[in-house]
């Protein structure tokens, strides 16, 4: 809908002069103020804006933290403690950054589930969706790299486990995987060179994310927003200008989100953290359990549920890769699940499966459920969950789209509103 005429009117001679040379003010005006937005977007659509603010928050706190952080295996842990104790408001910066990562992922998961629920990945928004998946993968990489920087026990061993995944390639090409791992480490194990390059990349990737977010928003503004009804905008009666309608609405939900964020930062700053990361890294002592941060637990559960290392790695990365192709796996023309009664329960089962996998990922690998006097290894529910994750995208999405009889779609976004007003 942004294909409409620009309504920007330069207010001064200089503005006119500048606009004819670099129309950046026109661009900002058209994308952030007058951008026609469907009038029926609900709370779940505010998470895009929340994510943009969280990215900025992470970059700002991160830049200041980097001024005080030392990326050396001998000094990193102490430099973090120095930030916590002797840097002015260092504790605030660090807790905001560490918990900010969790809030960022919380928001991105809501944003992604919302995209799936309302079919926001379907034509003409496939590229928009894929750019989103790219951002998500970059976020995972950035978060993993950042988690290594405090150089606690979990930092060190998480880095060891994840980089060692590459050595599984040895199963296909002998020695090649190990060579990659050695190249990543800058040595023969995770150590000082690894920490240095991880810091460098952790500083780089957020700016790459920032750039891809720019493309993501660009790709959003070409077809315009999807909406909870999943039908196209028919005309101006269906939309409102982004500002002030959505700037104010998004700001309200953003502040609610920040209340939760502040609750963690000020009252439970270590709630999502692993205690072992307050022990300094020790290559000679393996922690009792090595677990990633909560937002990666579902993938960790998938990895551990497969007995073969290479297959486990492929299944885990395949789960991410699957997201790229779902615009073509879904065979239904109807976007919103509001009108897809058959797919809807499968979707909620998918959400529950992701939560279950996250729960299983946090358990020790030898954990069991005692059910009716029997010991059930948690590997089995994890395998079932992994199977359903794949089945949802590769079997259920294509098949249900073909056999489902969708509910009748409303004529336009404005119409139900007009009806209610009558």
């Amino acid at each position: 809908m942004s294909a409409g005429e620009s309504t920007y009117v330069p207010k001064s001679g200089f503005a006119r002069w500048f606009d004819s040379r670099l129309p950046i003010a026109r661009f900002a005006h058209d994308t952030m103020l007058t951008y026609p937005t469907p009038k029926n977007l609900n709370i779940w659509y505010t998470f895009g804006g929340i994510l943009a603010i969280m990215l900025v928050s992470q970059i700002l706190t991160g830049i200041v933290l980097a001024m005080h952080y030392v990326s050396s295996d001998k000094l990193a842990f102490d430099s973090v403690e120095n930030i916590m104790r002797d840097v002015n408001y260092g504790w605030l910066l660090r807790y905001a950054h560490a918990n900010g990562a969790s809030m960022f992922f919380l928001a991105v998961y809501v944003h992604m589930f919302r995209g799936i629920y309302y079919g926001s990945y379907k034509a003409p928004r496939e590229v928009l969706w894929i750019l989103g998946v790219v951002i998500y993968v970059l976020m995972i990489a950035t978060a993993f790299l950042g988690y290594v920087l405090p150089w606690g026990q979990m930092s060190f061993w998480a880095a060891t486990v994840i980089t060692n995944l590459f050595s599984s390639i040895d199963q296909i090409i002998p020695h090649f995987g190990t060579a990659i791992a050695t190249w990543l480490w800058g040595g023969f194990a995770v150590g000082d060179p690894t920490l240095n390059r991880f810091f460098s990349l952790h500083y780089l990737l957020p700016f790459v994310i920032f750039a891809v977010v720019g493309l993501h928003i660009w790709a959003l503004h070409v077809p315009g927003n999807n909406n909870p009804l999943g039908i196209d905008v028919k005309g101006p009666q269906d939309t409102v200008p982004f500002h002030p309608y959505y700037t104010v609405k998004d700001a309200f939900y953003l502040v609610l989100f920040f209340i939760v964020f502040a609750g963690f930062v000020f009252y439970a700053p270590n709630f999502v953290g692993e205690v072992a990361n307050y022990d300094m890294a020790d290559p000679l002592v393996t922690p009792h359990e090595i677990v990633p941060e909560w937002y990666l637990l579902p993938f960790y559960a998938m990895l551990r549920s497969i007995p073969d290392k290479l297959m486990g790695v492929l299944v885990m990365f395949g789960a991410l890769a699957t997201l790229v192709v779902i615009p073509w796996l879904d065979t239904s023309k109807v976007r919103s699940l509001r009108f897809r009664p058959m797919l809807k329960p499968f979707f909620w089962l998918f959400v529950a499966t992701c939560l279950l996998l996250g729960y299983l990922g946090a358990k020790r690998p030898d954990a069991v459920w005692h059910i009716a006097g029997m010991d059930l290894s948690l590997v089995w529910p994890a395998r079932l969950g992994t199977l359903y994750y794949y089945a949802f995208f590769w079997i259920i999405l294509p098949v249900v789209g073909l056999i489902e009889k969708p509910k009748p779609l409303p004529d336009s976004i404005a119409k139900p509103v007009l009806k209610a007003a009558e």
């Binding site: 605030l92 205690v275 529950a352 059910i371």
Partner: protein, 268 residues
Amino acid sequence: MRKPITLALSLVAVVGLSTAAFAAGENDHPLPPKDVSFSHEGPFGTYDRASLQRGFQVYKEVCAACHGLSRVAFHALADDGGPGFTEAQAKALAAGYQIVAGPNDKGETTDDNGTPLTRPGILADKFPSPFANPQAARTANNGSLPPDLSVIVKARNGGEHYVYSLLTGYGQTPPAGFKVVDGKYYNPYFEGRNIAMPHPLNDNGVTYSDGTKATIDQQAHDVATFLTWAAEPKMEERKRMGFGVMLFLAAFAGVLYLSYRKLWADQH
């Protein structure tokens, strides 16, 4: 909307069921920490200054023989939200420690006997560790490494409750069939339950200047409080600021909500 709720409920049920099943651990799994209360708990909790000072005394006279506090600076003892020593007291405490000094004017780092040169501590110094290096610490402790206590409360599940439980968890009879390793001690709150540290606290092992009776329980509670502060010296500032931030965000949310309702009134 009923389906998702049912699903969520069944998920909760599954989670609840399994945690209950896990509670029945084996012999070498640690017991959950005791449920004692501390004044610094809760959104408005502050440290008990007297307890911090007593806990510091316990650390100094008992724990410091083996455990470092290498990330805590002496000036922190006089900082806001801490044990509440005056700057003069903190200076005197610091001066009571010998810190390894840098080279002197002649470039020497050791005296004629080869002993490293030292100087009295100043406020900017951190607590010197009892052992020169981990190897020396292990040699002196039967092969075990006494951990640095600077952030120990944040480095163990249960935090200060764990520290308290561990220190008061000695002297129990191990369950039948449990093997106490030679040279180790049984403590059900410790991971694996075999701990290298002998029972460090004794009744009246320290003499409190404020007249508080130095029971094992009291000392454990005091030192657990002190170590919580050592790990989280900015806790009081954090909670104070958090309260202001929450008030502001709540008020701001209220204003935004009213703006949002007014703005959208003609659109709904």
